[in-house]
């Protein structure tokens, strides 16, 4: 299986519930476990709400385009905004700092939580940004081996 679809939503927090339902269904179709479906959905939600808050500064007139690719062994989700170029290096540093802090102890500072969740859930996280075409966030999550075998044996049964 290799299938892809797009969903384009306004940068409105109200739309996140709809995005989650759609992403959860896509994850189920690939064969992720309930727990993984929830995690991937959360990561996509965090990616979108970061776009709403940081790229569009809370304005509801922007747009987010989400492309989802379903594979036999993974899901790929690409979030695209149409805002200004972002400082990817700063973002990378933020994640590093966050990860270090978390290792030491539970931090009570909520800042940076979204980006950190995305990184701890997804297997691949890649930002690509440019001045005139906004930012693209590419997320990939693989099926666990065990899960893949389970699905393969079900579909041949």
């Amino acid at each position: 299986m290799k299938e892809s679809f797009d969903i384009k939503v306004p940068s409105n927090p109200r739309m996140m519930q709809l995005v989650r339902k759609t992403i959860a269904q896509a994850c189920e179709m690939v064969g992720f476990s309930e727990r993984e479906v929830h995690a991937v959905t959360l990561a996509v939600d965090e990616g979108c709400t970061n776009i709403i808050r940081h790229c569009y500064q809370g304005s509801e007139t922007g747009h987010i385009v989400i492309r989802v690719r379903l594979y036999d062994d993974k899901i790929e989700i690409i979030l695209r905004d149409f805002g200004d170029e972002i400082d990817v290096e700063k973002l990378r540093k933020c994640v590093k700092k966050m990860k270090r802090k978390l290792k030491r102890s539970g931090s009570v500072r909520p800042g940076g939580l979204g980006v950190m969740l995305i990184h701890s859930i997804m297997d691949k996280v890649h930002y690509k940004t440019s001045q005139d075409s906004g930012t693209v966030l590419r997320l990939v999550k693989y099926l666990s081996d065990a899960r893949e075998k389970e699905i393969a044996s079900n579909s041949t049964a």
């Binding site: 519930q17 989650r20 995690a39 959360l42 965090e46 709400t49 808050r53 931090s107 969740l117």
Partner: protein, 112 residues
């Protein structure tokens, strides 16, 4: 999302149902802020009907912890469903909060 608040002078229970996300968390925030302004000594947030919470919900709870901390109040969370528990774990905040299995326990245990 729905927020129901029951409180007397010493304790308050905030019962949330539905998804807590960027759209709905401001409502939960409002309830927490109002109660901490009144310096209610013990605030329990009951999440038994919450299936989904994102980082904006978690950040709101962290804020609640900070607000109540200022007046030495107690801020507790009760009845986390597995999906919500997982967000706390992923955020490594499961040990930062006082988390109880039931609302009763959250109300009974004396302050640490």
């Amino acid at each position: 999302m729905q927020v129901i608040v029951q409180h007397d002078k010493n304790t308050a229970v905030i019962s949330i149902s539905g998804d807590v996300d960027l759209y709905s968390s401001p409502e939960m925030r409002k309830a927490i802020t109002q109660l901490s302004k009144k310096k209610v000594p013990l605030i329990v947030v009951n999440l038994k009907d919450v299936d989904y919470m994102d980082s904006s919900g978690v950040a709101t709870l962290v804020e609640g912890l900070q607000l109540t901390g200022k007046y030495k109040g107690c801020f507790r969370i009760a009845c986390l469903k597995p999906t919500v528990w997982e967000v706390f774990e992923l955020a490594r905040l499961d040990r930062v909060f006082e988390i109880y299995e039931t609302e009763e326990k959250a109300l009974k245990v004396s302050p640490l």
